[in-house]
């Protein structure tokens, strides 16, 4: 018989009656549950729990863990996600018992170190972004966006203004319209120019008195710096419109320019992108939000404040949009981001962006012959290619992504931004060596040759991964989301 395989659920391995524990005989009288619990709350049959030994469990999960794929094992050029190396020093600091074992409800007098770290991190993020105040509460970028939009709403209300619309370009991250709609606004989509820039004439035409905010990403989602940003923010402010910066691409501009100096009123930070806290399963995320002083009264409560030599949680904030997150935010992530910023220092952070931009331009230059570039460079921290040339040969961006898996790389973002046909969005980050970038470019060039000469090898890909090409259409049409017990 074959050994149990990784593609089984823990429910499907083991055998009836097998257990992974042995309990001593009870030394107290055993009560019949029916004696103490109303009949309506009693279940009729035993739950279908896994019946496995301890060894089954260890082997099952060890095998699954070997399938992990991440920045610690592979190059991960997922555009817009800043999959950079997460220094292990961050982990050591977050595990210091004084941080790791601190109960979130410890009275502030006994949690001065943690509050001090939060206070200083907020100040450092404010300095990096040119913002006057920062809330560390949001648990991810999208929640940072929601907090920012709610503060803008509260600001307009406090001024007695009724504004009901938020402008979002068609090149935006999907979270922008989603957070805006969640905050109760009507989303108005603006068409971008071919290079992803804002169409100023179109923006001006849409800046009606009922517009509350304009939400854009800088650099934009084509990886280009929005050159006329000062005109854009001036234009918006002249009409009483607040300008929100999606901070997803902050890794391109650290120490070079600041959202606050560009005229933005609000911006969020993705600590799990720019500031080396883990993504995904290693997370959770953290999406602090920074504001200019006119929005400061509306920050989520409580705010960490310094009173003389002591730190405190300030709850007396009558204009606050309220509390957003359990306790004070994802504190462990704050420790990691603080560690990173203090490790790098201001000059180091500037070098981060310089090298991130250099690496992206290196890839763009090496691949420009074999793939169409979405917009002429130089680019910022990521470059967007189009596989439209390959599509004419029957090879799509999705096929190229699958073939990259065979060649030992994670795939770039595909089909985003939506305004680029057959988009492949590549963000190498500053933490990759020239050798890795070259190996990736070699693989991309090999795929371009295969598209011309032997497309079958691309259509069959991936063949070296633990599962072959998945039927994503069927997965979306007939989602099978939970295990159902077999009776």
């Amino acid at each position: 018989m074959a050994m149990p395989r990784y593609d089984k659920l823990v429910f499907e391995i083991g055998a009836p009656g097998r257990v992974g524990y042995s309990l001593p005989a009870s030394d107290v009288p055993v009560e019949d549950p029916r004696a103490g619990i109303p009949d309506s709350y009693l279940r009729r049959e035993a739950p279908a729990l896994p019946e496995v030994s301890e060894f089954d469990v260890v082997r099952h999960y060890s095998r699954l863990s070997q399938l992990n794929y991440g920045v610690d094992t592979h190059f991960y050029p997922l555009g817009s996600c800043t999959m950079k190396y997460n220094p292990k020093l961050n982990e050591t600091m977050a595990r210091l018992p004084g941080f790791a074992r601190l109960h979130p409800l410890t009275p502030p007098a006994s949690a001065q170190g943690a509050l001090g770290l939060m206070h200083d991190l907020a100040q450092m993020l404010g300095e990096i972004a040119g913002m006057d105040a920062v809330s560390l509460q949001p648990a991810a970028g999208a929640q940072g966006e929601l907090a920012g939009v709610l503060m803008i709403r509260a600001f307009h209300r406090a001024n007695g203004e009724k504004r009901t619309k938020v402008l979002v370009p068609d090149s935006a991250h999907g979270t922008n319209p989603a957070s805006t709609a969640l905050a109760g606004y009507q989303v108005v989509q603006l068409k971008s120019l071919a290079n992803g820039d804002v169409d100023l004439a179109d923006l001006e035409a849409h800046l009606a008195p009922d517009v509350a905010a304009f939400m854009i990403t800088q650099p934009n989602t084509l990886g280009l710096f929005e050159q006329r940003i000062l005109e854009i923010t001036d234009l918006c402010h002249a009409r009483g419109v607040q300008v929100y910066m999606d901070g997803a691409n902050l890794n391109a501009i650290l120490g070079i320019t600041r959202p606050g100096d560009l005229g933005f009123d609000v911006c969020h930070f993705n600590l799990h992108k720019t500031f080396t806290t883990p993504h995904g399963g290693g997370g959770p995320g953290a999406g602090p939000v920074g504001v200019k002083s006119h929005l400061e009264p509306f920050l989520p409560a409580p705010v960490v404040v310094r009173r003389g030599e002591a730190y405190a949680l300030d709850w007396k904030r009558p204009k606050s949009i309220g509390k957003l997150q359990a306790f004070w935010g994802n504190f462990g992530m704050l420790v990691r981001a603080y560690t990173y910023i203090r490790t790098m220092g201001p000059d180091g952070l500037r070098e981060v962006s310089e090298n991130a931009v250099l690496n992206a331009n290196y890839i763009m230059a090496r691949l420009a012959k074999d793939y169409d570039v979405a917009a002429p460079g130089p680019c910022m921290h990521e470059c967007v290619l189009s596989a439209r040339k390959q599509k004419k040969l029957g090879v799509t961006a999705m096929d190229i992504a699958k073939r990259l898996l065979d060649l030992g790389f994670y795939a770039p973002s595909t089909y985003f931004p939506l305004i680029v046909e057959e988009a492949l969005m590549i963000e190498p980050t500053e933490t990759e060596s020239k050798e890795t970038l070259d190996a990736f470019c070699d693989a991309m060039i090999q795929i371009a040759r295969e598209a011309e000469q032997s497309p079958a090898v691309i259509h069959e890909a991936p063949v070296t991964t633990s599962v072959r090409r998945l039927d994503q259409t069927r997965a979306a049409r007939e989602p099978d989301l939970r295990w159902a017990p077999r009776r």
Partner: protein, 130 residues
Amino acid sequence: MANIPAELRYTKDHEWAKQEGGRIRVGITHFAQEQLGDVVFVELPKAGARATAKKAFGVVESVKAVSDLFAPLSGEVVEVNDALAKAPETVNGDPYGKGWMIVIAPSAPREWDGLLTASQYEEFLAQSGP
């Protein structure tokens, strides 16, 4: 290249509209379904809902993207293609036939004249890329 039936009218958002004795049948074009890729979900209004020209009446989701569906004309939605809920792939296979989405009883029938003709839509596609 283009599969653009001459008797239909079109929007710049890639919906088609068909006159059926005063009522308007609506779907998305061959070009739209090709750009979207495999359609996995179609969300349509209920019969009796109001549709407003150039405003969203539903949502189409593919493996690549989620897009709003825009009404070519204003009016009452009188018929809805419920079969698409179970077989969204019909939109890919037969966009101008069994892949239709709604039928509108127009409240401002002259909006029809503002829609693109087949040759105008073909020209629009040629200009805007891909």
